[in-house]
Amino acid sequence: MNTPTALIAEDEPLLAVALRADLSRAWPALQVVAAVGDGKQALARALALQPTVCFLDIRMPGLTGLEAAQALAEDWPEGAPFPLLVFVTAYDQYALQAFDAQAVDYLVKPVQPARLDACVARLQRLLAERSAHDRAVEPADADALQQTMAQLRALLGAAAPAAAGRLEVLQAQVGANVHLVPVDEVVYFEAADKYVRVVTASGEHLIRTPLKDLLPQLDPARFWQVHRGVIVRARAVTSARREESGKVTLTLAGRPEKLTASRLYAHLFKGM
């Protein structure tokens, strides 16, 4: 069996040092390959190093631990075993409830040694199961990944704030002009750096409201998130094609380009 590796994402330096020290005591075989202080680095380093376990702080600059996990799940290379995720938080009442419900492991700061030992034991058990499956004919990684996806979807759903009200008309400003765009004319929204592109059949506009703030204000029956950076109007999708990688390619009415639904959201497109 290969040496298990870990990535620690924690923005408070002392806590990162401490978690590393505690882990070396509780799990001497575990090799910490990266310790990063923000969510974007966590994503980049995890994709590059493919650690066995990721310890993700929930509140980090860049991306939150949950957002980093979402991006990891979407961008994770085909065939490689998805890391075991452990979320770390000081106090997030609602998140903890969601974690409990989803049986995702989490640590509460300050991390108590006994709790860390239990977490390590659980991770080791999961890894043992995983390698047992590897020796078997059919690798069960696909199942494990599907399960992780389902858990992540539920966590992301629980983390979404309550809607402040339904949005019916978007107002996109260009210079002194404000364009009013009814949401029903939108084909899809796409996050682009600091803006969100609002794409309609006839053109596109830029707005500054982040996608994650937009999402709760859209009718979930009409607008589906299909990727962490894309929300599509369901009625504008004419067909969906499942790819080898688990992603789904969407063909749109009124737009020539195709969209990709990540494997996190591929479950939305299934034959009836």
């Binding site: 923005d11 408070e12 330096p13 002392l14 806590l15 040092v17 401490a18 202080g37 923000d38 974007k40 680095q41 509140r59 600059p61 860049g62 991306l63 939150t64 957002e67 000081a90 106090y91 997030d92 509460v108 700061k109 300050p110 991390v111 704030p161 402040a164 009200g165 339904r166 949005l167 019916e168 008309v169 978007l170 107002q171 996109a172 400003q173 260009v174 210079g175 404000v178 600091k194 803006y195 506009h205 830029l206 707005i207 500054r208 409201t209 982040p210 703030d213 709760p216 204000q217």
Partner: protein
């Protein structure tokens, strides 16, 4: 151009990207902005029932108004009957007369009062006004007239009823020359007045108690929320987690951090009990908080606190500056990967005191992932409300994008100097 204080929270709470001020600020960039048209959330005013329930505990007499009125009526009627019986004899007759007059007076006064109120309601609110429509309180003269009319009317009827019940024949109440009429009239008016005065006082007392209880409840709630916003569990547990690590690594530094935490907790827990403290104390409090955050954020946070010695003793309300500092760190610097700098300073501008909190964080335009941390919203609103209560229009708080190239946010607290 300044942006109203609650701007950041307008975005956080209702997901509106609002003010023209910011658009103007950023006009140099071809920045598209968006305003979202959302349905307004209905506000939920505190239920009057809640207040009544809470206030109810303060009442000494929990009877219904009707029971209360009847009990008082029985007391007054019995007292009058006993008094008259002692003077003129015939307790049974006096009791019957007293009670029939008393009951009739009460009924007549109530009827007259209701009629007047109904008329006023119609006059004030027209037909549309329901029972719940507010009507200005009855004038004292009107109340007196109602009591007098009720007493005369009820007295006359009650006297007749009493006569029928006892078999006597009394002179009518309006017969001035009859001595018995004079006595009956005087006693009736006296009784009616006593009854009215006592009932009115009781009502006023009950209302005052209700108001006091509601105010106390409001104050307690505010204090609780202030504490919650200051002692945010996330901050507390993260600080403790750091402390736990430091104890093993650098005990001396751990001790210093613990001292800061103790000072912070003590100050927070006692802040709501003082109305003013020296500006130096406010800075010391901010310094405790910043020191804790510096341990947590490490090299990502640099801070500079500048308090000119001549301003150190100026009295300021506690916890005005600190929520701004917390805001700058939580929403400006913490969400920024590279961290940044925090500058807090006090300066005198003629007859005014200006306190500024500047950060080089992500600025007002960005949505920090942690922007929805509960408590800070309350902290800022609390600052604004307290400024208004203490200084009216003479104090101001503004949040604006920092003007220089480093970016971030500038909060300015502008107070009148104590004369």
């Amino acid at each position: 151009m300044t942006v109203p204080l609650d701007w950041r929270h307008a975005v956080v709470t209702s997901r509106r990207l609002a003010p023209a001020g910011r658009t103007g600020q950023r006009a140099c960039r071809p920045a598209p902005t968006i305003r979202l048209v959302t349905s307004a959330r209905p506000s939920s005013p505190a239920s009057p029932a809640d207040v009544a329930v809470a206030a109810g505990r303060g009442w000494r007499w929990k009877a219904s108004p009707l029971t209360r009125a009847l009990t008082l009526l029985i007391l007054v009627c019995t007292a009058i009957a006993v008094l008259l019986a002692l003077l003129f004899g015939g307790l049974a007759d006096k009791l019957i007369h007293s009670f029939s007059i008393g009951l009739c007076c009460w009924g007549a006064t109530t009827a007259v009062g209701r009629t007047v109120e109904f008329g006023r309601r119609r006059l004030a609110g027209g037909v549309a006004a329901g029972d719940g429509a507010p009507v200005p309180p009855t004038h004292a003269a009107v109340r007196t007239a109602i009591v007098l009319t009720g007493a005369m009317l009820g007295g006359s009827i009650g006297l007749l009823v009493g006569d029928v019940l006892t078999g006597h024949t009394s002179a009518p109440l309006w017969d001035w020359r009859s001595r018995s009429s004079q006595i009956t009239l005087a006693v009736t008016l006296l009784g009616a007045t006593m009854f009215t005065v006592v009932m009115t006082l009781r009502d006023r007392l009950a209302q005052a108690q209700l108001r006091t209880a509601a105010a106390q409840r409001q104050a307690a709630e505010n204090q609780l929320r202030l504490l919650q916003s200051q002692l945010e569990p996330h901050m507390l547990f993260n600080t403790l987690a750091n402390l736990r690590v430091l104890i093993g690594l650098e005990p001396a530094r751990a001790q210093m951090m613990l001292d800061r935490l103790i000072a912070f907790l003590r100050a927070t827990l006692s802040a709501s009990r003082t109305s003013h403290h020296p500006l130096a104390d406010e800075f010391a409090r901010v310094s405790d908080y910043v020191a804790l955050m510096e341990v947590r954020m490490g090299p990502r946070l640099h801070s500079q606190l500048r308090l000119p010695p001549e301003l150190a003793a100026l009295p300021v309300p506690p916890l005005l500056l600190q929520p701004l500092v917390e805001n700058a760190i939580k929403h400006g610097l913490e969400p920024q990967v590279a961290g940044g700098r925090l500058e807090v300073q006090a300066e005198r501008d003629g007859a005014r005191l200006r306190l500024t909190v500047r950060d080089t964080g992500i600025g007002l335009g960005e949505h920090a992932h942690g922007a929805s941390i509960p408590g800070t919203q309350f902290g800022l609103r609390q600052v604004r409300e307290r400024l208004h209560t203490l200084y009216g229009e003479r104090a101001a708080l503004s949040l604006q994008p920092a003007a220089d190239a480093e970016g971030g946010t500038l909060a300015i607290l502008d107070l009148p100097l104590p004369s």
